[in-house]
Symmetry: D3
Subunit: 116 residues, 6 copies
């Protein structure tokens, strides 16, 4: 899926979910957001942590989201591949299909950025 | 995926699978069915249990199926959101993409019902 | 592990963790607690949901905790077994070792209660 | 997804990934390949092991790949169903959506082979 | 844990569980047993399948049980290591602690057998 | 488990496993080791990635190992808690028992270090 399409779909469904959510669900979303804010660890490191957690748990939507955040935090392609290698070794070959799609999504992010 | 399309696809593949299945696989399907039958716990509670198990294990097909059963068992939107909040807290933010799609599917179920 | 020993160990480690936790971790613990409060769904149903989520995700500590809450909420042994059967069918035979220990823990809870 | 389309998409993404991969990622891919080579256990048994591991971990891409390898290794439909039944019993009903798609993919493999 | 102690503990808890189980739970245990019976695939292959499913899902009790069955089915140490390598590659380094304990348990099985 | 005891047990079992391992298993252990070496990302970041992957996959042995590496890499308690909070939010309350034991282990590491 292309970043632009993914983000559009994601936003639409998030808006619907938050509209229907009760207070506790909304609080969870707030905590999720807060976890990646600059602190003792910088945002870049935190986004890499979120990415690797998403990869070993094998959730494409979560991977795409954190790839975007890593891209914005100026993670280099070399750094990204080293981080993804840790996810691959810890999580095993079952992670490979997600690694393939992540590699493609990263390409697409760079391409979209180059078009602006 | 719209409920109507999901159910059609699901039925087609289930029919094929049961046609090719051996006796033990068929018995598993029977046990799976039996688990949700009215007993000491009512069907509504059991469908909520099936839904939350499916959410923390992150299987969309299973989630859609149990959402339909919950809808038929007249689970309210408020009850559903409280149950899904438990899945979210136990399973973590990795459950969010499934929560988003579940919220949309629940909307679509209500819409389809209103059209009949 | 006996309920009394489990609870003691659990309390000691929870106290240490909350003492060391930052604000976001504390907020997560609060959200976790809030998820099981009486609402549109009663506490008994919510504890069963927490138990089944814990069983399919295969976490003994979480299972023991929710068994205690189910016991306090006066879940009957028959209701419990029907709920655990759903966890077994959804989660598969990999759940059996946890089912075994849960059955034993439930016995021990009844025994401890009978001694007071 | 049809075998022909799956293989095409898989090859394209694998080529991209290996092109971008660092040395350690490439080594992982080599180890992954080596695991299924004829040894004390024959390839057929090893592919069945890979298939069942993929089913209980619930990864469609991995399942499709090993189904192809099983097909090439002349696993019979009866043998396949017995192996998949083990995945179903160990992994539970959460495996059913994957079993459904695997059954369809196996049909499609036989159909494609009959057309050559 | 030593094989003798494991088997004793396992038997005790299984007996208690089956005593408390309802009909559906008992049927699940029967299906679980039936999955490994000689059929189109021989018992040895089926036990290896059960072992590898247990390793990638990371359940020590299940691993110990299938190691015993593999030992009885005369799986060689070389065959076992090749099968466990597949579990390691598919499941990743998170499997290593289980691989370590499995290697030790296999040693203990051989030792116990040599003492009889 | 105390760090000293854990390390002793871990070393003993690793030695046995590598002694019995075939070439591919040994290569996997080498790749696992290589993943955390200084590169585009520094060792400290990589150990945090390994820790968080281990926490969301819920493996105590892996968590203890990476906690030791984080301690050696001079991760501060504040940094550690922020990283563990990400694991908690992504992985959910099912991670809490591991967070509790990790907090205790971190204390024990500091204590052991203060005794030398």
């Amino acid at each position: 899926m292309k970043p632009k399409d993914f983000n559009e779909m994601r936003k639409k469904l998030t808006d619907l979910t938050l509209d229907r959510a009760n207070l506790n669900v909304k609080r969870f979303f707030a905590l999720d957001h807060a976890a990646y804010e600059e602190g003792a660890l910088d945002s870049k490191t935190k986004e890499l942590l979120g990415l690797i957690a998403s990869m070993v748990l094998r959730c494409d939507d979560c991977i795409y989201y954190h790839l975007e955040q890593c891209f914005k935090a100026e993670v280099s392609s070399e750094e990204l591949m080293e981080a993804m290698n840790i996810a691959l070794v810890v999580g095993g070959s079952i992670v490979i299909p997600h690694l393939r799609r992540a590699t493609k999504y990263w390409e697409d992010l760079a391409y979209e950025a180059s078009q602006t």
